[in-house]
Subunit: 317 residues, 2 copies
Amino acid sequence: MKLAIIGAGTVGKSVAQLANSFGHTVVAVADSSSSVVNDSGITVAEALDTKQESGTIGDEDPEAALHADYDCLIEVTPTTLGTAEPAFSHIETALHRERHVVLGNKGPIAQRYSDVQKLADESAGTVQFEAAVGGSYAVISTIRDIGPDRVLGVRGVFNGLANFILSRMAAEGLGYEHVLAEAQDLGIAEVDPTFDVEGTDSALTCCILANVLADGRTEYTIDDVEVEGITGIQGSALKLAREDGRTVRLLGEARGDHLQVAPRIVPENSNLAVTGSQTVVELDLRDAGKLNVSSSATTSRDVATAILTDVNRLENR
Amino acid sequence: MKLAIIGAGTVGKSVAQLANSFGHTVVAVADSSSSVVNDSGITVAEALDTKQESGTIGDEDPEAALHADYDCLIEVTPTTLGTAEPAFSHIETALHRERHVVLGNKGPIAQRYSDVQKLADESAGTVQFEAAVGGSYAVISTIRDIGPDRVLGVRGVFNGLANFILSRMAAEGLGYEHVLAEAQDLGIAEVDPTFDVEGTDSALTCCILANVLADGRTEYTIDDVEVEGITGIQGSALKLAREDGRTVRLLGEARGDHLQVAPRIVPENSNLAVTGSQTVVELDLRDAGKLNVSSSATTSRDVATAILTDVNRLENR
Protein backbone atom coordinates (compact mmCIF):
# COMPACT_ATOMS: atom_id res chain seq x y z
CA MET A 1 0.00 0.00 0.00
CA LYS A 2 0.98 3.62 -0.49
CA LEU A 3 1.31 5.34 2.88
CA ALA A 4 1.21 8.98 4.00
CA ILE A 5 2.63 9.42 7.48
CA ILE A 6 1.36 12.44 9.40
CA GLY A 7 3.70 13.08 12.32
CA ALA A 8 7.48 12.75 12.23
CA GLY A 9 8.29 12.05 15.88
CA THR A 10 9.99 8.83 16.93
CA VAL A 11 7.04 6.62 15.95
CA GLY A 12 6.45 8.34 12.60
CA LYS A 13 10.13 7.99 11.74
CA SER A 14 10.12 4.29 12.66
CA VAL A 15 7.03 3.66 10.53
CA ALA A 16 8.80 5.34 7.61
CA GLN A 17 11.96 3.27 8.15
CA LEU A 18 10.14 -0.07 8.44
CA ALA A 19 7.41 0.46 5.82
CA ASN A 20 9.44 -0.90 2.94
CA SER A 21 10.27 -4.16 4.67
CA PHE A 22 6.53 -4.66 5.19
CA GLY A 23 6.06 -4.28 1.44
CA HIS A 24 4.58 -0.77 1.58
CA THR A 25 5.66 2.48 -0.09
CA VAL A 26 5.87 5.82 1.72
CA VAL A 27 4.56 8.57 -0.57
CA ALA A 28 4.47 11.37 2.02
CA VAL A 29 5.68 12.32 5.49
CA ALA A 30 4.59 15.47 7.27
CA ASP A 31 5.94 17.12 10.39
CA SER A 32 4.26 20.08 12.06
CA SER A 33 5.66 22.66 9.65
CA SER A 34 6.45 20.91 6.36
CA SER A 35 6.14 17.76 4.30
CA VAL A 36 7.87 15.70 1.68
CA VAL A 37 5.67 14.19 -1.03
CA ASN A 38 6.38 11.97 -4.00
CA ASP A 39 3.54 9.93 -5.44
CA SER A 40 5.89 7.23 -6.62
CA GLY A 41 7.64 6.95 -3.25
CA ILE A 42 9.93 9.21 -1.24
CA THR A 43 13.48 8.29 -0.28
CA VAL A 44 12.95 7.78 3.43
CA ALA A 45 16.59 7.93 4.57
CA GLU A 46 17.11 11.19 2.70
CA ALA A 47 13.97 12.79 4.17
CA LEU A 48 14.95 11.78 7.70
CA ASP A 49 18.46 13.17 7.15
CA THR A 50 16.94 16.46 5.99
CA LYS A 51 14.78 16.55 9.10
CA GLN A 52 17.79 15.80 11.28
CA GLU A 53 19.88 18.52 9.68
CA SER A 54 17.38 21.30 9.04
CA GLY A 55 14.61 20.52 11.54
CA THR A 56 12.00 20.28 8.78
CA ILE A 57 11.34 17.20 6.69
CA GLY A 58 10.64 18.81 3.30
CA ASP A 59 9.83 21.83 1.20
CA GLU A 60 6.07 21.53 1.01
CA ASP A 61 3.29 22.62 3.34
CA PRO A 62 2.25 19.94 5.83
CA GLU A 63 -1.20 19.88 4.16
CA ALA A 64 0.36 18.61 0.92
CA ALA A 65 0.86 15.21 2.60
CA LEU A 66 -2.88 14.96 3.31
CA HIS A 67 -3.60 15.32 -0.40
CA ALA A 68 -0.91 12.96 -1.67
CA ASP A 69 -1.79 9.80 -3.59
CA TYR A 70 -1.88 7.39 -0.64
CA ASP A 71 -4.03 4.32 0.09
CA CYS A 72 -3.67 4.66 3.84
CA LEU A 73 -3.02 7.62 6.12
CA ILE A 74 -0.93 6.89 9.23
CA GLU A 75 -1.86 9.36 12.01
CA VAL A 76 0.94 9.63 14.57
CA THR A 77 0.85 13.26 15.67
CA PRO A 78 0.90 13.86 19.43
CA THR A 79 -2.33 12.90 21.22
CA THR A 80 -4.41 15.87 22.34
CA LEU A 81 -7.48 16.02 24.59
CA GLY A 82 -10.87 17.61 23.91
CA THR A 83 -11.39 17.99 20.15
CA ALA A 84 -8.48 15.65 19.41
CA GLU A 85 -7.23 18.09 16.81
CA PRO A 86 -5.42 18.22 14.50
CA ALA A 87 -5.65 14.41 14.28
CA PHE A 88 -9.42 14.43 13.86
CA SER A 89 -9.26 16.71 10.80
CA HIS A 90 -6.54 14.53 9.28
CA ILE A 91 -8.81 11.49 9.61
CA GLU A 92 -11.72 13.47 8.15
CA THR A 93 -9.71 14.49 5.10
CA ALA A 94 -8.54 10.93 4.42
CA LEU A 95 -12.00 9.39 4.85
CA HIS A 96 -13.61 12.06 2.65
CA ARG A 97 -11.07 11.01 0.02
CA GLU A 98 -12.20 7.35 0.54
CA ARG A 99 -8.80 6.36 1.93
CA HIS A 100 -8.00 4.14 4.92
CA VAL A 101 -6.64 5.45 8.20
CA VAL A 102 -4.41 3.70 10.75
CA LEU A 103 -4.05 5.50 14.07
CA GLY A 104 -1.19 5.51 16.52
CA ASN A 105 -2.76 8.61 18.09
CA LYS A 106 -5.25 7.71 20.85
CA GLY A 107 -7.12 11.04 20.88
CA PRO A 108 -9.81 10.68 18.20
CA ILE A 109 -11.10 7.23 19.23
CA ALA A 110 -10.92 8.04 22.94
CA GLN A 111 -12.56 11.45 22.64
CA ARG A 112 -14.72 11.51 19.52
CA TYR A 113 -15.60 7.89 18.84
CA SER A 114 -19.02 8.41 17.26
CA ASP A 115 -17.77 11.29 15.08
CA VAL A 116 -15.01 9.04 13.73
CA GLN A 117 -17.38 6.09 13.21
CA LYS A 118 -19.84 8.33 11.35
CA LEU A 119 -17.12 9.50 8.97
CA ALA A 120 -15.97 5.89 8.47
CA ASP A 121 -19.52 4.67 7.81
CA GLU A 122 -19.88 7.25 5.02
CA SER A 123 -16.50 6.38 3.49
CA ALA A 124 -15.08 3.53 1.45
CA GLY A 125 -12.10 3.83 3.79
CA THR A 126 -11.88 2.25 7.23
CA VAL A 127 -10.21 3.32 10.48
CA GLN A 128 -7.91 0.90 12.31
CA PHE A 129 -6.53 1.62 15.78
CA GLU A 130 -5.04 -1.55 17.26
CA ALA A 131 -1.72 0.19 17.89
CA ALA A 132 -3.45 2.87 19.98
CA VAL A 133 -4.15 0.27 22.68
CA GLY A 134 -0.91 -0.25 24.57
CA GLY A 135 1.10 -1.43 21.59
CA SER A 136 -1.29 -4.32 21.10
CA TYR A 137 -1.74 -6.21 17.88
CA ALA A 138 -5.26 -7.62 17.83
CA VAL A 139 -7.22 -6.70 20.96
CA ILE A 140 -9.78 -4.56 19.13
CA SER A 141 -10.40 -7.08 16.36
CA THR A 142 -10.56 -9.89 18.91
CA ILE A 143 -13.26 -8.02 20.88
CA ARG A 144 -15.18 -7.45 17.66
CA ASP A 145 -14.84 -11.10 16.61
CA ILE A 146 -15.90 -12.45 20.00
CA GLY A 147 -18.72 -9.92 20.01
CA PRO A 148 -18.56 -6.80 22.26
CA ASP A 149 -21.65 -7.97 24.20
CA ARG A 150 -19.79 -11.14 25.25
CA VAL A 151 -16.89 -9.19 26.78
CA LEU A 152 -18.00 -8.37 30.35
CA GLY A 153 -15.09 -6.08 31.03
CA VAL A 154 -11.53 -5.18 30.19
CA ARG A 155 -8.73 -4.27 32.53
CA GLY A 156 -5.00 -4.10 32.37
CA VAL A 157 -1.75 -2.22 32.54
CA PHE A 158 -2.01 0.21 29.66
CA ASN A 159 1.03 2.43 30.15
CA GLY A 160 4.57 1.10 29.83
CA LEU A 161 6.35 3.99 31.54
CA ALA A 162 4.13 3.90 34.64
CA ASN A 163 4.73 0.17 34.83
CA PHE A 164 8.48 0.59 34.40
CA ILE A 165 8.56 3.05 37.29
CA LEU A 166 6.45 0.87 39.61
CA SER A 167 8.43 -2.29 38.76
CA ARG A 168 11.76 -0.59 39.36
CA MET A 169 10.58 1.02 42.61
CA ALA A 170 9.40 -2.37 43.89
CA ALA A 171 12.41 -4.38 42.70
CA GLU A 172 15.15 -1.95 43.76
CA GLY A 173 13.51 -0.18 46.69
CA LEU A 174 14.04 3.16 44.97
CA GLY A 175 11.90 6.30 45.23
CA TYR A 176 9.60 7.66 42.53
CA GLU A 177 11.71 10.69 41.61
CA HIS A 178 14.88 8.60 41.34
CA VAL A 179 13.33 6.04 38.98
CA LEU A 180 11.65 8.72 36.88
CA ALA A 181 15.01 10.46 36.36
CA GLU A 182 16.51 7.09 35.39
CA ALA A 183 13.72 6.50 32.85
CA GLN A 184 14.32 9.95 31.38
CA ASP A 185 18.03 9.16 31.06
CA LEU A 186 17.20 5.88 29.30
CA GLY A 187 14.87 7.72 26.91
CA ILE A 188 11.86 5.69 28.13
CA ALA A 189 10.23 8.78 29.64
CA GLU A 190 9.57 12.04 27.84
CA VAL A 191 10.90 15.24 29.42
CA ASP A 192 7.28 15.85 30.45
CA PRO A 193 5.93 12.50 31.63
CA THR A 194 2.63 13.94 32.96
CA PHE A 195 0.38 12.03 30.53
CA ASP A 196 1.95 8.74 31.60
CA VAL A 197 2.40 9.11 35.35
CA GLU A 198 -0.83 11.00 36.07
CA GLY A 199 -2.83 8.24 34.34
CA THR A 200 -4.11 10.36 31.43
CA ASP A 201 -2.69 8.05 28.77
CA SER A 202 -4.18 5.00 30.53
CA ALA A 203 -7.52 6.80 30.82
CA LEU A 204 -7.54 7.37 27.06
CA THR A 205 -6.97 3.64 26.53
CA CYS A 206 -9.88 2.95 28.91
CA CYS A 207 -12.10 5.19 26.77
CA ILE A 208 -11.06 3.46 23.56
CA LEU A 209 -11.84 0.02 25.03
CA ALA A 210 -15.10 1.23 26.61
CA ASN A 211 -16.19 2.72 23.29
CA VAL A 212 -15.46 -0.52 21.45
CA LEU A 213 -17.36 -2.52 24.10
CA ALA A 214 -20.33 -0.11 23.99
CA ASP A 215 -20.39 -0.58 20.21
CA GLY A 216 -22.24 2.71 19.58
CA ARG A 217 -24.91 2.28 22.28
CA THR A 218 -23.25 5.02 24.31
CA GLU A 219 -20.05 7.03 24.09
CA TYR A 220 -17.30 7.68 26.59
CA THR A 221 -14.69 10.42 26.86
CA ILE A 222 -11.95 11.03 29.38
CA ASP A 223 -14.42 12.97 31.57
CA ASP A 224 -16.11 9.64 32.33
CA VAL A 225 -12.94 8.10 33.77
CA GLU A 226 -12.01 8.30 37.45
CA VAL A 227 -8.25 8.82 37.29
CA GLU A 228 -5.49 8.52 39.85
CA GLY A 229 -1.82 8.35 38.82
CA ILE A 230 1.30 6.96 40.44
CA THR A 231 3.05 10.13 41.60
CA GLY A 232 1.88 9.63 45.18
CA ILE A 233 3.04 6.02 45.54
CA GLN A 234 5.53 5.54 48.35
CA GLY A 235 8.39 3.05 48.21
CA SER A 236 7.28 1.87 51.64
CA ALA A 237 3.88 0.79 50.28
CA LEU A 238 5.58 -1.29 47.59
CA LYS A 239 7.85 -2.87 50.20
CA LEU A 240 4.89 -3.84 52.38
CA ALA A 241 3.04 -5.32 49.40
CA ARG A 242 6.10 -7.28 48.38
CA GLU A 243 6.49 -8.89 51.77
CA ASP A 244 3.01 -10.26 51.24
CA GLY A 245 3.72 -11.64 47.71
CA ARG A 246 1.96 -8.68 46.13
CA THR A 247 2.85 -5.59 44.20
CA VAL A 248 1.24 -2.38 42.92
CA ARG A 249 0.28 -1.77 39.29
CA LEU A 250 -1.44 1.15 37.62
CA LEU A 251 -4.58 -0.64 36.41
CA GLY A 252 -7.13 0.68 33.97
CA GLU A 253 -10.58 -0.85 33.92
CA ALA A 254 -13.63 -0.52 31.68
CA ARG A 255 -16.72 -2.44 32.72
CA GLY A 256 -20.09 -1.01 31.75
CA ASP A 257 -20.17 2.61 32.91
CA HIS A 258 -17.36 2.00 35.38
CA LEU A 259 -14.18 3.50 33.93
CA GLN A 260 -11.27 3.84 36.28
CA VAL A 261 -7.49 4.21 36.35
CA ALA A 262 -5.83 3.76 39.73
CA PRO A 263 -2.88 2.06 41.44
CA ARG A 264 -4.00 -1.36 42.66
CA ILE A 265 -2.49 -4.13 44.74
CA VAL A 266 -2.18 -7.35 42.71
CA PRO A 267 -0.51 -10.71 43.43
CA GLU A 268 3.08 -10.77 42.13
CA ASN A 269 2.34 -13.88 40.05
CA SER A 270 -0.84 -12.41 38.57
CA ASN A 271 -1.11 -12.04 34.81
CA LEU A 272 -1.61 -8.33 35.47
CA ALA A 273 1.73 -7.99 37.25
CA VAL A 274 3.75 -7.58 34.05
CA THR A 275 7.25 -6.26 34.68
CA GLY A 276 9.36 -3.50 33.20
CA SER A 277 7.69 -1.46 30.51
CA GLN A 278 5.36 -4.22 29.40
CA THR A 279 1.65 -3.68 29.04
CA VAL A 280 -1.21 -6.17 29.32
CA VAL A 281 -4.88 -6.24 28.40
CA GLU A 282 -7.21 -8.77 30.03
CA LEU A 283 -10.62 -9.58 28.59
CA ASP A 284 -13.21 -11.08 30.91
CA LEU A 285 -15.51 -13.19 28.75
CA ARG A 286 -19.09 -14.28 29.24
CA ASP A 287 -19.40 -18.10 29.29
CA ALA A 288 -15.61 -18.42 29.20
CA GLY A 289 -12.46 -17.54 31.08
CA LYS A 290 -10.05 -14.68 30.75
CA LEU A 291 -7.88 -13.84 27.81
CA ASN A 292 -4.64 -11.89 28.36
CA VAL A 293 -2.55 -10.14 25.75
CA SER A 294 0.72 -8.75 27.00
CA SER A 295 3.29 -6.92 24.99
CA SER A 296 6.80 -5.71 25.46
CA ALA A 297 6.04 -3.19 22.74
CA THR A 298 7.65 -0.07 24.17
CA THR A 299 10.12 1.27 21.68
CA SER A 300 9.09 3.33 18.71
CA ARG A 301 9.95 0.36 16.46
CA ASP A 302 7.50 -1.79 18.42
CA VAL A 303 4.70 0.72 17.99
CA ALA A 304 5.62 1.12 14.32
CA THR A 305 5.41 -2.66 13.89
CA ALA A 306 1.92 -2.67 15.45
CA ILE A 307 0.88 0.16 13.10
CA LEU A 308 2.24 -1.58 10.01
CA THR A 309 0.53 -4.82 11.08
CA ASP A 310 -2.70 -2.81 11.11
CA VAL A 311 -1.94 -1.69 7.55
CA ASN A 312 -1.42 -5.33 6.53
CA ARG A 313 -4.74 -6.17 8.15
CA LEU A 314 -6.47 -3.85 5.65
CA GLU A 315 -5.04 -5.93 2.81
CA ASN A 316 -5.74 -9.31 4.41
CA ARG A 317 -9.44 -8.70 5.04
CA MET B 1 -24.41 -18.71 10.07
CA LYS B 2 -25.79 -22.22 9.79
CA LEU B 3 -23.47 -24.65 11.54
CA ALA B 4 -22.94 -28.41 11.30
CA ILE B 5 -20.99 -29.75 14.28
CA ILE B 6 -19.06 -32.94 13.68
CA GLY B 7 -18.16 -34.47 17.01
CA ALA B 8 -20.38 -34.56 20.09
CA GLY B 9 -17.85 -34.76 22.91
CA THR B 10 -17.63 -32.04 25.55
CA VAL B 11 -16.45 -29.36 23.11
CA GLY B 12 -19.00 -30.24 20.42
CA LYS B 13 -21.80 -30.12 22.98
CA SER B 14 -20.64 -26.73 24.28
CA VAL B 15 -20.48 -25.31 20.75
CA ALA B 16 -24.04 -26.51 20.18
CA GLN B 17 -25.22 -24.96 23.46
CA LEU B 18 -23.54 -21.58 22.89
CA ALA B 19 -24.12 -21.22 19.13
CA ASN B 20 -27.49 -19.51 19.47
CA SER B 21 -26.20 -16.83 21.81
CA PHE B 22 -23.55 -16.03 19.19
CA GLY B 23 -26.33 -15.55 16.64
CA HIS B 24 -25.73 -18.81 14.78
CA THR B 25 -28.06 -21.73 14.01
CA VAL B 26 -27.11 -25.37 14.47
CA VAL B 27 -28.51 -27.40 11.57
CA ALA B 28 -26.69 -30.67 12.33
CA VAL B 29 -24.71 -32.46 15.01
CA ALA B 30 -23.00 -35.80 14.43
CA ASP B 31 -21.47 -38.21 16.91
CA SER B 32 -19.47 -41.26 15.82
CA SER B 33 -22.53 -43.40 15.06
CA SER B 34 -25.42 -41.09 14.27
CA SER B 35 -26.54 -37.53 13.56
CA VAL B 36 -29.45 -35.16 13.94
CA VAL B 37 -30.17 -32.87 10.99
CA ASN B 38 -32.73 -30.14 10.40
CA ASP B 39 -31.99 -27.54 7.76
CA SER B 40 -34.02 -24.92 9.60
CA GLY B 41 -32.28 -25.58 12.91
CA ILE B 42 -32.26 -28.48 15.37
CA THR B 43 -33.46 -28.17 18.98
CA VAL B 44 -30.10 -28.42 20.70
CA ALA B 45 -31.33 -29.22 24.23
CA GLU B 46 -33.51 -32.03 22.91
CA ALA B 47 -30.68 -33.55 20.85
CA LEU B 48 -28.29 -33.45 23.81
CA ASP B 49 -30.94 -35.07 26.04
CA THR B 50 -31.37 -37.83 23.48
CA LYS B 51 -27.60 -38.35 23.43
CA GLN B 52 -27.53 -38.44 27.24
CA GLU B 53 -30.34 -40.97 27.45
CA SER B 54 -29.72 -43.27 24.48
CA GLY B 55 -26.00 -42.75 23.78
CA THR B 56 -26.66 -41.61 20.21
CA ILE B 57 -27.61 -38.09 19.18
CA GLY B 58 -30.09 -38.83 16.40
CA ASP B 59 -31.66 -41.22 13.93
CA GLU B 60 -29.60 -40.46 10.88
CA ASP B 61 -26.22 -41.72 9.69
CA PRO B 62 -23.29 -39.55 10.79
CA GLU B 63 -22.63 -38.75 7.11
CA ALA B 64 -25.99 -36.98 6.84
CA ALA B 65 -24.56 -34.10 8.90
CA LEU B 66 -21.78 -33.60 6.34
CA HIS B 67 -24.38 -33.08 3.64
CA ALA B 68 -26.71 -30.81 5.60
CA ASP B 69 -27.36 -27.23 4.50
CA TYR B 70 -24.67 -25.52 6.58
CA ASP B 71 -22.49 -22.46 5.92
CA CYS B 72 -19.72 -23.64 8.20
CA LEU B 73 -18.60 -27.08 9.37
CA ILE B 74 -17.23 -27.28 12.92
CA GLU B 75 -14.73 -30.16 13.17
CA VAL B 76 -14.34 -31.29 16.79
CA THR B 77 -13.81 -35.03 16.53
CA PRO B 78 -10.86 -36.45 18.54
CA THR B 79 -7.44 -35.54 17.12
CA THR B 80 -5.65 -38.43 15.42
CA LEU B 81 -2.08 -38.72 14.16
CA GLY B 82 -0.82 -39.74 10.70
CA THR B 83 -3.57 -39.24 8.13
CA ALA B 84 -5.60 -37.12 10.59
CA GLU B 85 -8.71 -39.08 9.60
CA PRO B 86 -11.65 -38.89 9.77
CA ALA B 87 -11.26 -35.12 10.30
CA PHE B 88 -9.40 -34.65 7.02
CA SER B 89 -12.21 -36.20 4.97
CA HIS B 90 -14.78 -34.06 6.78
CA ILE B 91 -12.84 -30.94 5.79
CA GLU B 92 -12.54 -32.22 2.23
CA THR B 93 -16.29 -32.76 1.94
CA ALA B 94 -17.11 -29.30 3.28
CA LEU B 95 -14.58 -27.53 1.05
CA HIS B 96 -15.71 -29.46 -2.04
CA ARG B 97 -19.17 -28.15 -1.21
CA GLU B 98 -17.71 -24.58 -1.06
CA ARG B 99 -18.45 -24.30 2.66
CA HIS B 100 -16.27 -22.88 5.44
CA VAL B 101 -14.57 -25.03 8.07
CA VAL B 102 -13.62 -24.13 11.65
CA LEU B 103 -11.36 -26.63 13.39
CA GLY B 104 -11.08 -27.50 17.05
CA ASN B 105 -9.24 -30.65 15.97
CA LYS B 106 -5.46 -30.11 15.69
CA GLY B 107 -4.72 -33.12 13.48
CA PRO B 108 -5.27 -31.90 9.92
CA ILE B 109 -3.29 -28.63 10.18
CA ALA B 110 -0.50 -30.24 12.21
CA GLN B 111 -0.17 -33.30 9.99
CA ARG B 112 -1.42 -32.43 6.51
CA TYR B 113 -1.04 -28.69 6.22
CA SER B 114 -0.40 -28.48 2.48
CA ASP B 115 -3.20 -30.93 1.66
CA VAL B 116 -5.64 -28.76 3.61
CA GLN B 117 -4.33 -25.53 2.06
CA LYS B 118 -4.65 -27.02 -1.44
CA LEU B 119 -8.28 -27.95 -0.82
CA ALA B 120 -8.95 -24.48 0.60
CA ASP B 121 -7.28 -22.76 -2.36
CA GLU B 122 -9.61 -24.61 -4.72
CA SER B 123 -12.73 -23.81 -2.68
CA ALA B 124 -14.87 -20.76 -2.04
CA GLY B 125 -14.75 -21.91 1.58
CA THR B 126 -11.93 -21.12 4.00
CA VAL B 127 -10.42 -23.05 6.90
CA GLN B 128 -10.01 -21.35 10.31
CA PHE B 129 -8.11 -22.94 13.16
CA GLU B 130 -7.42 -20.36 15.88
CA ALA B 131 -9.05 -22.57 18.51
CA ALA B 132 -6.67 -25.42 17.69
CA VAL B 133 -3.78 -23.41 19.18
CA GLY B 134 -4.12 -23.68 22.96
CA GLY B 135 -7.56 -22.13 23.18
CA SER B 136 -6.24 -18.96 21.60
CA TYR B 137 -8.33 -16.35 19.88
CA ALA B 138 -6.16 -14.60 17.33
CA VAL B 139 -2.60 -15.94 17.27
CA ILE B 140 -2.82 -17.33 13.74
CA SER B 141 -4.41 -14.22 12.25
CA THR B 142 -1.94 -12.02 14.15
CA ILE B 143 1.00 -13.95 12.67
CA ARG B 144 -0.52 -13.59 9.22
CA ASP B 145 -1.16 -9.86 9.70
CA ILE B 146 2.34 -9.17 11.02
CA GLY B 147 3.73 -11.30 8.20
CA PRO B 148 5.07 -14.82 8.89
CA ASP B 149 8.55 -13.77 7.75
CA ARG B 150 8.67 -11.13 10.51
CA VAL B 151 8.01 -13.69 13.26
CA LEU B 152 11.41 -15.11 14.18
CA GLY B 153 10.02 -17.83 16.40
CA VAL B 154 7.16 -18.91 18.60
CA ARG B 155 7.30 -20.61 21.95
CA GLY B 156 4.97 -21.16 24.83
CA VAL B 157 3.01 -23.39 27.12
CA PHE B 158 0.58 -25.09 24.79
CA ASN B 159 -1.05 -27.68 27.03
CA GLY B 160 -3.25 -26.72 29.97
CA LEU B 161 -3.22 -30.10 31.73
CA ALA B 162 0.57 -30.44 31.69
CA ASN B 163 0.77 -26.91 33.09
CA PHE B 164 -1.81 -27.64 35.77
CA ILE B 165 0.20 -30.67 36.90
CA LEU B 166 3.54 -28.83 36.97
CA SER B 167 2.03 -25.79 38.77
CA ARG B 168 0.38 -27.95 41.41
CA MET B 169 3.49 -30.08 41.92
CA ALA B 170 5.59 -26.94 42.43
CA ALA B 171 3.09 -25.06 44.61
CA GLU B 172 2.09 -27.95 46.86
CA GLY B 173 5.19 -30.12 46.80
CA LEU B 174 3.13 -33.05 45.55
CA GLY B 175 4.23 -35.91 43.29
CA TYR B 176 3.26 -36.37 39.64
CA GLU B 177 0.95 -39.37 40.17
CA HIS B 178 -0.88 -37.64 43.01
CA VAL B 179 -1.59 -34.45 41.03
CA LEU B 180 -2.59 -36.41 37.92
CA ALA B 181 -5.15 -38.38 39.94
CA GLU B 182 -6.44 -35.09 41.35
CA ALA B 183 -6.79 -33.62 37.84
CA GLN B 184 -8.69 -36.72 36.74
CA ASP B 185 -11.05 -36.32 39.70
CA LEU B 186 -11.60 -32.66 38.76
CA GLY B 187 -12.37 -33.66 35.16
CA ILE B 188 -9.41 -31.63 33.86
CA ALA B 189 -7.56 -34.77 32.75
CA GLU B 190 -8.97 -37.46 30.51
CA VAL B 191 -8.85 -41.05 31.77
CA ASP B 192 -5.97 -41.47 29.30
CA PRO B 193 -3.86 -38.31 29.60
CA THR B 194 -1.03 -39.64 27.38
CA PHE B 195 -1.45 -37.00 24.64
CA ASP B 196 -1.14 -34.22 27.20
CA VAL B 197 1.57 -35.44 29.57
CA GLU B 198 3.83 -37.06 26.95
CA GLY B 199 3.92 -33.79 24.99
CA THR B 200 2.10 -35.08 21.88
CA ASP B 201 -0.62 -32.42 22.04
CA SER B 202 2.00 -29.67 22.49
CA ALA B 203 4.00 -31.11 19.58
CA LEU B 204 0.93 -30.86 17.34
CA THR B 205 0.58 -27.19 18.32
CA CYS B 206 4.26 -26.70 17.44
CA CYS B 207 3.59 -28.17 14.00
CA ILE B 208 0.60 -25.91 13.42
CA LEU B 209 2.62 -22.81 14.36
CA ALA B 210 5.66 -23.96 12.35
CA ASN B 211 3.47 -24.56 9.30
CA VAL B 212 1.93 -21.10 9.58
CA LEU B 213 5.38 -19.53 9.96
CA ALA B 214 6.75 -21.50 7.00
CA ASP B 215 3.81 -20.23 4.95
CA GLY B 216 4.01 -23.05 2.41
CA ARG B 217 7.80 -22.94 1.85
CA THR B 218 8.16 -26.23 3.70
CA GLU B 219 5.86 -28.48 5.72
CA TYR B 220 6.20 -29.96 9.18
CA THR B 221 4.60 -32.96 10.84
CA ILE B 222 4.96 -34.39 14.32
CA ASP B 223 7.93 -36.49 13.11
CA ASP B 224 9.91 -33.24 12.90
CA VAL B 225 9.41 -32.41 16.58
CA GLU B 226 11.79 -33.50 19.32
CA VAL B 227 9.40 -34.38 22.15
CA GLU B 228 9.86 -34.95 25.86
CA GLY B 229 6.92 -34.97 28.26
CA ILE B 230 6.55 -34.32 31.97
CA THR B 231 6.09 -37.84 33.33
CA GLY B 232 9.69 -38.02 34.50
CA ILE B 233 9.72 -34.71 36.41
CA GLN B 234 10.56 -35.13 40.09
CA GLY B 235 9.05 -32.99 42.82
CA SER B 236 12.59 -32.46 44.10
CA ALA B 237 13.59 -30.76 40.85
CA LEU B 238 10.68 -28.34 41.17
CA LYS B 239 11.62 -27.64 44.77
CA LEU B 240 15.21 -26.84 43.82
CA ALA B 241 14.07 -24.56 41.02
CA ARG B 242 11.68 -22.76 43.33
CA GLU B 243 14.37 -21.99 45.88
CA ASP B 244 16.13 -20.16 43.07
CA GLY B 245 13.03 -18.15 42.00
CA ARG B 246 12.48 -20.47 39.06
CA THR B 247 10.06 -23.14 38.03
CA VAL B 248 9.60 -25.78 35.33
CA ARG B 249 7.19 -25.48 32.41
CA LEU B 250 6.53 -27.78 29.46
CA LEU B 251 7.58 -25.45 26.64
CA GLY B 252 6.98 -25.90 22.97
CA GLU B 253 9.12 -24.02 20.49
CA ALA B 254 9.07 -23.51 16.74
CA ARG B 255 11.92 -21.54 15.24
CA GLY B 256 12.96 -22.33 11.69
CA ASP B 257 13.53 -26.07 11.47
CA HIS B 258 13.95 -26.34 15.25
CA LEU B 259 10.75 -27.84 16.66
CA GLN B 260 10.90 -29.00 20.23
CA VAL B 261 8.71 -29.79 23.23
CA ALA B 262 10.49 -30.26 26.56
CA PRO B 263 10.34 -29.31 30.24
CA ARG B 264 12.36 -26.13 30.74
CA ILE B 265 13.45 -24.08 33.71
CA VAL B 266 12.01 -20.56 33.54
CA PRO B 267 11.96 -17.64 36.03
CA GLU B 268 8.83 -17.71 38.19
CA ASN B 269 7.93 -14.15 37.12
CA SER B 270 8.46 -14.92 33.41
CA ASN B 271 5.54 -14.42 31.03
CA LEU B 272 5.96 -18.10 30.18
CA ALA B 273 5.39 -19.22 33.79
CA VAL B 274 1.60 -19.14 33.55
CA THR B 275 -0.09 -20.94 36.42
CA GLY B 276 -2.85 -23.54 36.71
CA SER B 277 -4.24 -24.74 33.41
CA GLN B 278 -3.47 -21.55 31.53
CA THR B 279 -1.63 -21.58 28.23
CA VAL B 280 0.53 -18.92 26.62
CA VAL B 281 1.95 -18.25 23.17
CA GLU B 282 4.90 -15.88 22.76
CA LEU B 283 5.82 -14.40 19.39
CA ASP B 284 9.38 -13.16 18.92
CA LEU B 285 9.22 -10.39 16.34
CA ARG B 286 11.82 -9.03 13.97
CA ASP B 287 12.48 -5.29 14.59
CA ALA B 288 10.22 -5.39 17.65
CA GLY B 289 9.78 -7.00 21.03
CA LYS B 290 7.81 -10.00 22.17
CA LEU B 291 4.08 -10.40 22.10
CA ASN B 292 2.41 -12.78 24.59
CA VAL B 293 -1.09 -14.14 24.43
CA SER B 294 -2.16 -16.13 27.45
CA SER B 295 -5.48 -17.75 28.01
CA SER B 296 -7.28 -19.42 30.85
CA ALA B 297 -9.30 -21.21 28.19
CA THR B 298 -9.44 -24.70 29.58
CA THR B 299 -13.05 -25.75 29.94
CA SER B 300 -15.05 -26.98 26.99
CA ARG B 301 -17.04 -23.72 27.09
CA ASP B 302 -13.79 -21.79 26.67
CA VAL B 303 -12.78 -23.81 23.64
CA ALA B 304 -16.32 -23.52 22.25
CA THR B 305 -16.10 -19.73 22.67
CA ALA B 306 -12.83 -19.67 20.72
CA ILE B 307 -14.42 -21.80 17.97
CA LEU B 308 -17.51 -19.59 17.71
CA THR B 309 -15.28 -16.49 17.65
CA ASP B 310 -13.60 -18.08 14.64
CA VAL B 311 -17.03 -18.48 13.01
CA ASN B 312 -17.74 -14.78 13.67
CA ARG B 313 -14.41 -13.95 12.08
CA LEU B 314 -15.66 -15.47 8.80
CA GLU B 315 -18.54 -13.00 8.81
CA ASN B 316 -16.49 -9.99 9.88
CA ARG B 317 -13.90 -10.28 7.13
